[in-house]
């Protein structure tokens, strides 16, 4: 089963396992603090923002144009930012580490 590591703003590390749905939904199942997913995953709220570990960025891929437009106006945006509701849980993202910006 794909495993994803979340690191919260306080430095807590949570290893989550799932088989389907979005990474945002997985984070919510595991109560990852700082991932609220207010809009339910339709790319409208940016409360699912994560920084992908640079070494894992080829696994998640970059944001789509619509997603990038949302991120552009987020104060914590970096080159490796993603809205994790736009990442599907699958073998392709097994082992990635995602940090919740503080």
């Amino acid at each position: 089963m794909p495993k994803i590591t979340f690191i919260t703003a306080t430095g807590e590390s949570i290893i989550a396992e799932g088989t389907s749905g979005s990474v945002m939904e997985l984070a919510k199942q595991y109560n990852v603090s700082g991932i609220d997913g207010d809009c339910g995953g339709v790319c409208s709220c940016a409360t699912c923002h994560v920084h992908v570990a640079p070494a894992d960025f080829n696994k998640t891929g970059a944001a789509s144009e619509i997603e990038a437009d949302m991120l552009e106006l987020d104060d914590n945006v970096i080159k490796f930012s993603r809205l994790c509701c736009q990442i599907e849980v699958s073998d392709a993202v097994d082992g990635v580490t995602l940090t919740v910006p503080g």
């Binding site: 609220d36 207010d38 339910g40 339709v42 409208s44 709220c45 619509i66 437009d69 949302m70 106006l73």
Partner: protein, 383 residues
């Protein structure tokens, strides 16, 4: 035309120029119509401030009828952040299971009442009733109190023509003053008491600040929720097939709520005051004039939304701004979303059809734009 359809009056202006113009009590407004411009301007508070004279960022302007600053709505960062931090957890309570259980009971009662009546006038007998009763949960006050709010009718806060009637606004302001005094004399677990006890930058909130938060909570969550609920009923009356689909696929309800908020855009636009001469869409706007962020137009922007004038129940990419964007995005959104989710779930469980007998549109006049935002009257039979 289907009764639930909300046409987009902004299309040609949005595509040709990107902005529109309207007058409002000799304080004209440049309306920003494109999603990208709306977002950028909402973000750039240094140039587009919310912290103007109280009431001025509202369109129609409320400067003539209000001195109290609404908090956090009429405050810019960094102070805005401090106020937000203070109230954010409170406004997230609708995510808690016990809140949701209580809300379900309220929604089921209102739907049962609609089913048992021969016909109902949806705005007064359904939407206003549900909005007011649900608000007791957000404020954590006894359910009976909602009777007073329902008795005020829909026009207390209406910011159209008649809303600029200071006497009507005074009903709310006096009411809140009294409630704050009661909470001072007799603190409890309600929102007034919680605010009175809370501290910002090492000092207690003042009575005036508490009043500013409470006025906003009442005003911001009234017409918006009433329009959203009424339009939802109209939508399902026109689209029984959608109700059937949601009954089969309840897992898409979250997406449906976002899509209905995008399509309805219950709050058409909100103003900002320009702090320095600047340019939007190659159009010069001068310091100390107003722009508005037109959420309703941005939400139909074909540059971003495919088939923008259709309701697509499970729309996957839906970066709408129906709840605003950036610093001031809607604090009541968690509550509003929860009401709509619960309503849709309850309708799929209990209602097979809704028939509209009579309707009268509520059309806002914004310069030469005419926007239907909901109804003045909607008579329906639930079965």
């Amino acid at each position: 035309m289907k009764v639930s359809k909300l046409p987009d009056p902004f299309k040609s202006a949005r595509e040709d120029k990107g902005y529109g113009e309207m007058d409002d009590q000799n304080d004209p407004v440049t309306m920003l119509l494109r999603l990208k411009d709306v977002r950028k301007s909402a973000h750039k508070y240094q140039t587009f401030t919310s912290e103007a004279k109280p009431g001025r960022i509202v369109v129609p302007s409320e400067v003539a009828i209000r001195d109290v600053r609404q908090i956090p709505f009429e405050v810019d960062p960094p102070m805005h952040r401090d106020y937000r931090t203070l109230v954010e957890d409170w406004f997230r309570r609708p995510n808690a299971p016990d809140y949701q259980a209580k809300l379900s009971v309220l929604v089921e009662e209102v739907v049962a009442l609609a089913l048992s009546a021969d016909k109902i006038e949806v705005i007064n007998e359904f939407s206003l009733r549900l909005q007011s009763r649900a608000l007791t949960l957000l404020l954590n006050v006894p359910l009976e109190i909602s009777k007073t709010w329902i008795d005020w009718g829909t026009h207390v806060f209406r910011s159209e023509g008649e809303a600029l009637d200071g006497n009507k606004a005074a009903i709310l302001y006096d009411y809140i003053d009294k409630e704050i005094d009661k909470a001072i004399a007799n603190p409890g677990e309600d929102m007034y008491s919680v605010l009175l006890a809370s501290e910002i930058n090492g000092r207690k909130l003042t009575k005036e600040e508490v009043k500013g938060v409470m006025i906003l909570t009442f005003a911001g969550g009234r017409d918006t929720v009433i329009n959203a609920l009424t339009n939802t009923i109209a939508y399902f009356s026109d689209h029984p097939e959608s109700l059937i689909r949601l009954r089969r696929e309840p897992e898409i309800i979250d997406k449906t709520v976002e899509e209905l908020i995008r399509y309805f855009s219950p709050l058409t636009h909100m103003g900002r005051v320009v702090t320095e001469d600047t340019v939007v869409c190659e159009h010069a706007v001068k310091a100390d004039t107003r722009v508005s962020l037109c959420w309703a137009s941005a939400n139909r922007d074909a540059a971003v939304f495919e088939r923008p004038n259709e309701v697509i129940l499970d729309r996957k990419m839906n970066p709408h701004v129906g709840f605003g964007f950036s610093h001031h995005n809607c604090l009541g959104a968690t509550h509003a979303r929860q009401i709509l989710k619960t309503l849709i779930r309850t309708l799929t469980e209990k209602v097979s059809s809704i028939e509209i007998l009579e309707s009268e549109d509520n059309i806002e006049e914004l310069g030469h734009f005419k926007r239907k935002v909901g109804f003045h009257k909607l008579v329906a039979v639930f079965s």
